[in-house]
Each structure stands twice: as structure tokens, then as C-alpha cells.
């Protein structure tokens, strides 16, 4: 009989890595890796708000992170500033606010390190249920808009000419990405989350012959790397998030041996 904590860890890790692998293809295609950082770092403010209000820090981090992600999208569109400038402002701002708010938390002080580097082993039954429900919701959204998101990622002007409400769909996309990124912070933490999103997709792009193959290989590399990372961290008592990131990074390096020109 397997340890129930380990079972929950595997289910959580595989669900999240699946979502990250799919969303990661869009993130790499749209050169939005920095956006992932902005959303994940805002999660700390959400965690602090959760502690201060006495609600679930996981749920409040998702709520606040989505607001931050959609705000980035709004600011990029309205301010006409470069994406990296907007994110360069928002990322340290939300992180700072989060750390200040955490200093006001009385009584039990949350372990900041577990949020920065992930704490998948602490996934409780309620967290897992929430994670599965949100995962099903995100998968449904992605399935519904998959082709549209790909079209916009490849050629925005073409999509606009054909009558797609590109700006509105951008907000929906940012919402989906924010949700996935925030789920992933539970697995690998705020600092390492971009690795789980970007690396499997980048690895798949190195070796794929088509877009369809890219999605499937990204999912395969993401799930395999996460499962192996969890297993190794369990066997050798290593931190789980860094173990997962190390494995998927090694797979990425190996993919260069099979890289298509």
C-alpha cells in the first residue's frame, strides 16, 4: 500500500505538470516567460492576504494572482509600455507588498521558503480536490479555445481580420495562464514555477516535427520529469520542487542531442 501523502503528491504533480505543459507551448510561442514570473510572484501577496483574513492561503493566492495577471494584460494594452517594463514594475511591487503583509501576520508565521520553493508534500485532501476541480475547468477552457489561442499566437493580425475579438481572448488567455501558474506554485514554488511551464514546451519544440507532436511531447516530458522528480526526492529525501526542475532541465539539455535544425 502506497503512502497516501505520496499518492496525493503524484496526483497533484501530474495534474499540474499536464496543464503547464499545454500552456507552456503558448507561453514559449508568445515569448511570455517573464509573464509567468510576474503572476507567480504576486501569489505571495495572495498568501499573505489569506493568512490575514484567516482564509485558505492557496485559494487567496489564486484569486490575487488572477487579478495581477489580468492587470498585467490591461497595463500592457493601455500603457503601450514594453511587456518587460510593465512586468519589471509589477513583479517587485507585488512581491514587496506580499512580504510587508506577511510581517503583519500574528500567531503562526507561514514558512515563506515553502511558498518560494514549493511544498507539494503538504498537499492536503482539500487542496487536492480544489486542484482537480480547477484542473478540469482549465482543461475544458483550453480545449474549447485551443485553435483560437494557437491562431492568435501565430498571427494576431490574421485573427483580427477574421473577426476574432483578440483583445478579449487575450484576457481569457491571461486568466487561464494565471490559473495554471498559480496551481503550479504549489508544486515547485514561486521562484521555480516558470521552469515547469517553459522547459517541457521548449524541450518538445527542439525535437518535434509538427505542432501536434509539440503538444504531446511537451505533456510527456512534463509528466515524466515531474513524476521522476517526485520519486527521486522521496527516495533520497531531497526538496521536491528543485528535484523536478533539475530533472526537466536535464531532459531539456538531452533534447539538444536530437534537435532538429
Amino acid at each position: 500500500m502506497m503512502n497516501p501523502i505520496l499518492v496525493r503528491t503524484f496526483i497533484a504533480g501530474i495534474s499540474v505538470s499536464f496543464l503547464c505543459a499545454v500552456v507552456g507551448v503558448f507561453i514559449v510561442a508568445r515569448k511570455m516567460a517573464f509573464f509567468v514570473h510576474a503572476v507567480s510572484h504576486s501569489a505571495l501577496t495572495g498568501v499573505a492576504i489569506g493568512y490575514l483574513l484567516g482564509t485558505s492561503p492557496f485559494l487567496s493566492s489564486i484569486g490575487f494572482g488572477i487579478i495581477a495577471g489580468v492587470s498585467v494584460s490591461y497595463l500592457i494594452e493601455k500603457s503601450k509600455l514594453f511587456v518587460d517594463t510593465v512586468i519589471g514594475i509589477l513583479l517587485p511591487f507585488t512581491m514587496s507588498i506580499g512580504l510587508i503583509l506577511l510581517s503583519f501576520v500574528r500567531g503562526y508565521k507561514p514558512d515563506v521558503m515553502s511558498y518560494l520553493f514549493g511544498d507539494i508534500l503538504s498537499t492536503g485532501k482539500r487542496d487536492l480536490l480544489l486542484l482537480i476541480v480547477i484542473s478540469i475547468f482549465v482543461i475544458s477552457l483550453i480545449a474549447l479555445f485551443l485553435k483560437t489561442f494557437i491562431l492568435i499566437a501565430l498571427d494576431r493580425d490574421f485573427a483580427k481580420i477574421k473577426g476574432y475579438k483578440v483583445e478579449m481572448l487575450d484576457y481569457l488567455f491571461m486568466f487561464v495562464v494565471s490559473l495554471v501558474v498559480l496551481l503550479a506554485t504549489k508544486v515547485v514554488g514561486i521562484i521555480l514555477v516558470s521552469a515547469l511551464v517553459v522547459i517541457p514546451a521548449a524541450t518538445a519544440m527542439n525535437v518535434s516535427k509538427s505542432l501536434k507532436e509539440t503538444f504531446w511531447l511537451s505533456i510527456l516530458f512534463g509528466i515524466f520529469g515531474t513524476a521522476l522528480g517526485i520519486f527521486i526526492s522521496y527516495m533520497f529525501n531531497l526538496p521536491t520542487g528543485p528535484a523536478i526542475v533539475s530533472i526537466i532541465s536535464i531532459i531539456f539539455l538531452l533534447s539538444f542531442l536530437f534537435k532538429r535544425n
Binding site: 491562431l151 501565430l154 490574421f158 483580427k160 473577426g163 509538427s210 532538429r260
Partner: protein, 260 residues
């Protein structure tokens, strides 16, 4: 409005910040016509095209298929197609030509059949399984033309189709566009800074230099004064031209001096 008009532009003004890029442009295009927008670099040709495509904000009226551009339904918009001058290919994304074309046909059931039909017309069927990042510039342009044709458009817009194309390519493209007009009754508008290539095949010329300089059939409006107004004397003289006094001009290159 004439029932035959497929595009009408009235008092069109486009601003970029505080500067006015286009001033009070007025013209119309009838169904089945081939037209060209000509003008020097910086005249606002691509800006005009982008306004017609609804890609940039504008003031004035643009009517397509008898309806205000902003009121067109998604199905009506699907009948407008555009072939850009450049297509920024994300080289890291491994997408095949077939996948690229399939994506542009989201609401159709006969996707494979239609792709095969138009791939044949555009001569791209032999590289349907190639990644778009592996195509040459000329091959990519053909793929973009095929993508534009897939929705069986009523209005087709090209941005600088002769740019970077050799003489053989120019002739092939001219023949191709004429065959589209003949076989599919496509209304096409091209943007070009090259008067020589396009005025031989089009029904209408729209010359602009921030504002409308001339508009009409080439044999009626290609006057020397218009060319000097939009291109300047020195630029026009790089191609030989014969202008009847007070009448239209014809253009030819060194190896075509018998054109007159």
C-alpha cells in the same frame, strides 16, 4: 452607393498620435476589379490597407459589402483576406504548412479537401508537411496566398506583392492574380510602390501621398503631373516613360522599348 461597389472609402483620416497619416481619402472599388494603391515610401499605403482591414483606428467611413466595416459579422469578415508583405515566423514553433493552413479554416467541415484544392492552385501541395520555418521566402509567400484563398474571399488585399520578387516571379504573380480574377471573380487590391509592374494588369489605380492624388482607370489617370506629384521627377525617371502631351503615360524598361 452603386450595388456593384464592394469597398467604399469616404473621408478617411488616420492619425498616429498627433500626426495625421492620411488626409480625407475617398475612393470606391467595384466587384471583380483589380486595383492598386501606389505611392512613394511613407505615403501611407500600408496604413490605408490596415485601415481597410480594421487593424488600426480611423475616422471616416469604410464600407465593405455594403456594410460599415465595424458592423461586419464574423462570417462576412471571413470573406476578406490579406496577404502581408512580411510574415514574422516564430522559427522555434514547429508547425507544418498543413497545420498552418488548417488553423485558418476553423469553421469549415471540408478542411482537407479545400486545403488540397487550393494547395494545388498555389503550387504548395509538395510541401504541405514541411515546417513553415523551413520554407524559403518565395514558398512562404505562396503559402500565405493559399491561406488567404482558403476562405474563398470576395475581397483580397496584398501588401507589396512584387517586393523582393525576381522578373520570373513578377510575371508568375501577375498571371496568377489575373487567373484568380477570371476564375473566381475575386476583387483584389494591391499596395505597391512600383508603378511599372502593376499598372499593366489593374483596372483601377489609387495614387496617394498622404492624401488622394489620383483615382481611376490607369489609361485615364496615369498623367505625368500625377507621377511627379507623388514620386518627384528624379524618382520617376529611373524607369523610361512615354507621356502623350496632356495624356496618360506608359512605362517600360530597357528590354521592353517596343511597348510604346
Amino acid at each position: 452607393m452603386d450595388n456593384n461597389e464592394i469597398l467604399t472609402v469616404k473621408n478617411l483620416n488616420v492619425f498616429l498620435g498627433n500626426s495625421r497619416i492620411l488626409h480625407d481619402i475617398n475612393f470606391f472599388i467595384n466587384s471583380g476589379e483589380l486595383s492598386v494603391i501606389i505611392g512613394p515610401n511613407g505615403a501611407g499605403k500600408t496604413t490605408l490597407l490596415k485601415a481597410i482591414l480594421g487593424l488600426i483606428p480611423y475616422k471616416g467611413e469604410i464600407t465593405i459589402f455594403g456594410k460599415d466595416l465595424n458592423r461586419l459579422t464574423k462570417n462576412e469578415r471571413d470573406k476578406i483576406a490579406y496577404v502581408p508583405q512580411f510574415f514574422e515566423r516564430a522559427y522555434s514553433i514547429p508547425i507544418t504548412v498543413n497545420e498552418f493552413l488548417t488553423l485558418s479554416l476553423q469553421n469549415n467541415t471540408d478542411v482537407s479537401k479545400r486545403i488540397f484544392e487550393f494547395a494545388k492552385i498555389g503550387d504548395v501541395e509538395k510541401f504541405l508537411n514541411k515546417r513553415i520555418s523551413d520554407l524559403s521566402g518565395g514558398e512562404m509567400q505562396r503559402v500565405l496566398i493559399v491561406r488567404a484563398l482558403l476562405s474563398k474571399p470576395k475581397l483580397l488585399l496584398f501588401d507589396e506583392p512584387f517586393s523582393g520578387v525576381d522578373k520570373v516571379g513578377e510575371k508568375a504573380f501577375s498571371d496568377f492574380i489575373l487567373s484568380l480574377k477570371k476564375n473566381y471573380n475575386v476583387t483584389a487590391i494591391m499596395v505597391s510602390h512600383d508603378v511599372y509592374n502593376v499598372t499593366k494588369i489593374v483596372d483601377k489605380v489609387i495614387c496617394i501621398n498622404k492624401r488622394l492624388v489620383c483615382f481611376g482607370a490607369p489609361e485615364e489617370i496615369l498623367l505625368e503631373e500625377h507621377f511627379e506629384e507623388i514620386f518627384g521627377k528624379s524618382v520617376v525617371s529611373h524607369k523610361h516613360r512615354i507621356c502623350k502631351e496632356g495624356g496618360p503615360c506608359k512605362f517600360y524598361e530597357d528590354d521592353e522599348s517596343d511597348i510604346s
